[in-house]
């Protein structure tokens, strides 16, 4: 379990600068958070243009609320939470319902590996039929080639929206699980299940990529 994530030392300094009306501090936050804010908003509203309006409204909310922000969460969590709330309200006004099930994907219970990867019967049922490859034995460049990175990017883009947001926040941006839960309004279990599905599918995409490169 992770400890409670509250405003960090960097956050405290940023909050101080924002309260003073420091434009450079504000723009640095925009650079860091805006792409993710747009992705989160887009889950709930009908178009990219509306998502941009939501994000703009959220930034104004951040500025108007910064004097009252008490630092009980990290600054970025609080900001993404504001986007989520505004986007949900806007989506409802648009008559758009975005139930959790449709955002999370209908494959949360799907197996991480194809059934034929395991023995189906006998004393060893459920154990590997053929051993998974040890990627540590592959040349380091294979895992880090631009083709491999592209494959990972495509795999994430193809995920159901909430799975994609969770893996982006956790593994691309390195947020703590508690920050992600609070930012996206997920339970601990939901966050973990979404992360597992997302990582399992990216792993499978990487495996295909490693096999292609090994055989070429």
């Amino acid at each position: 379990m992770d400890a409670t994530v509250t405003a960090s030392g960097d956050d405290v300094e940023l909050i101080r600068l924002l309260r003073q009306g420091d434009e450079a501090a504000f723009m640095s936050l925009v650079e860091r958070l805006q792409p993710m804010m747009l992705r989160v908003a887009r889950m709930y509203v009908s178009s990219h243009a509306v998502a941009e309006e939501v994000v703009q409204e959220a930034w104004l909310g951040v500025l108007q609320g910064i004097d009252r922000f008490e630092g009980r969460s990290s600054l970025r969590t609080w900001i993404l939470r504001i986007v989520t709330n505004i986007a949900k309200t806007r989506g409802q006004r648009e008559g758009r319902s975005a139930p959790f099930a449709s955002l999370a994907g209908d494959d949360l219970d799907a197996p991480s590996f194809d059934a034929d990867r395991f023995l189906g019967s006998g004393a060893w049922a459920g154990h590997w039929s053929t051993l998974p490859a040890d990627w540590a034995g592959a040349p380091e460049t294979r895992l880090t080639s631009s083709e491999t990175l592209d494959a990972v990017r495509r795999a994430i883009d193809a995920l159901p929206p909430m799975q994609a947001q969770v893996i982006r926040l956790r593994d691309v941006l390195g947020w703590a699980s508690e920050e992600v839960r609070n930012a996206l309004g997920l339970t601990e279990t939901n966050q973990r299940v979404l992360l597992h599905r997302a990582r399992a599918k990216v792993r499978a995409a990487l495996e295909r990529e490693m096999e292609i490169e090994a055989s070429s």
């Binding site: 379990m1 992770d2 309260r19 003073q20 009306g21 434009e23 504000f26 723009m27 925009v30 650079e31 805006q34 792409p35 993710m36 941009e52 703009q56 930034w59 104004l60 500025l63 108007q64 004097d67 197996p111 991480s112 590996f113 395991f118 004393a123 060893w124 049922a125 459920g126 154990h127 590997w128 051993l131 998974p132 490859a133 040890d134 990627w135 540590a136 895992l143 880090t144 491999t148 990175l149 990972v152 990017r153 994430i156 893996i167 982006r168 593994d171 691309v172 941006l173 390195g174 699980s177 601990e188 973990r192 992360l195 597992h196 990582r199 399992a200 990216v202 792993r203 990487l206 495996e207």
Partner: protein, 90 residues
């Protein structure tokens, strides 16, 4: 690995709880079962390492860029807010 008892995890079961394990969301008993299987299974050890590589490679990606138009629009939001609330600012 050697099959010891029906209480042990199968490989098929282990791969579905890898994230529970790495997120620290397992009971002590489940964690012990997981580690016991891992200690004896080359295949699952390889998959654990594949998940670690997956996380590491994903971490090499970067998030999208902010467009110039977006940047200008947000700067505008900021300046309007700052100019509207001069009393609160230095």
């Amino acid at each position: 690995m050697t099959r010891t008892s029906d209480d042990d995890l199968t490989c098929r079961e282990l791969v579905e709880v890898i994230t529970d394990f790495v997120e620290g969301a397992m009971s002590d008993a489940d964690r012990a079962r997981f580690e016991r299987h891992l200690g004896e299974c080359a295949g699952c050890t390889a998959v654990m390492s594949q998940f670690r590589s997956t996380i590491e490679v994903t971490g090499r990606l970067t998030e999208g860029q902010v467009s110039e138009a977006q940047r200008d629009a947000m700067r505008e939001v900021f300046r309007r807010w700052r100019d509207d609330t001069p009393a609160a600012r230095d």
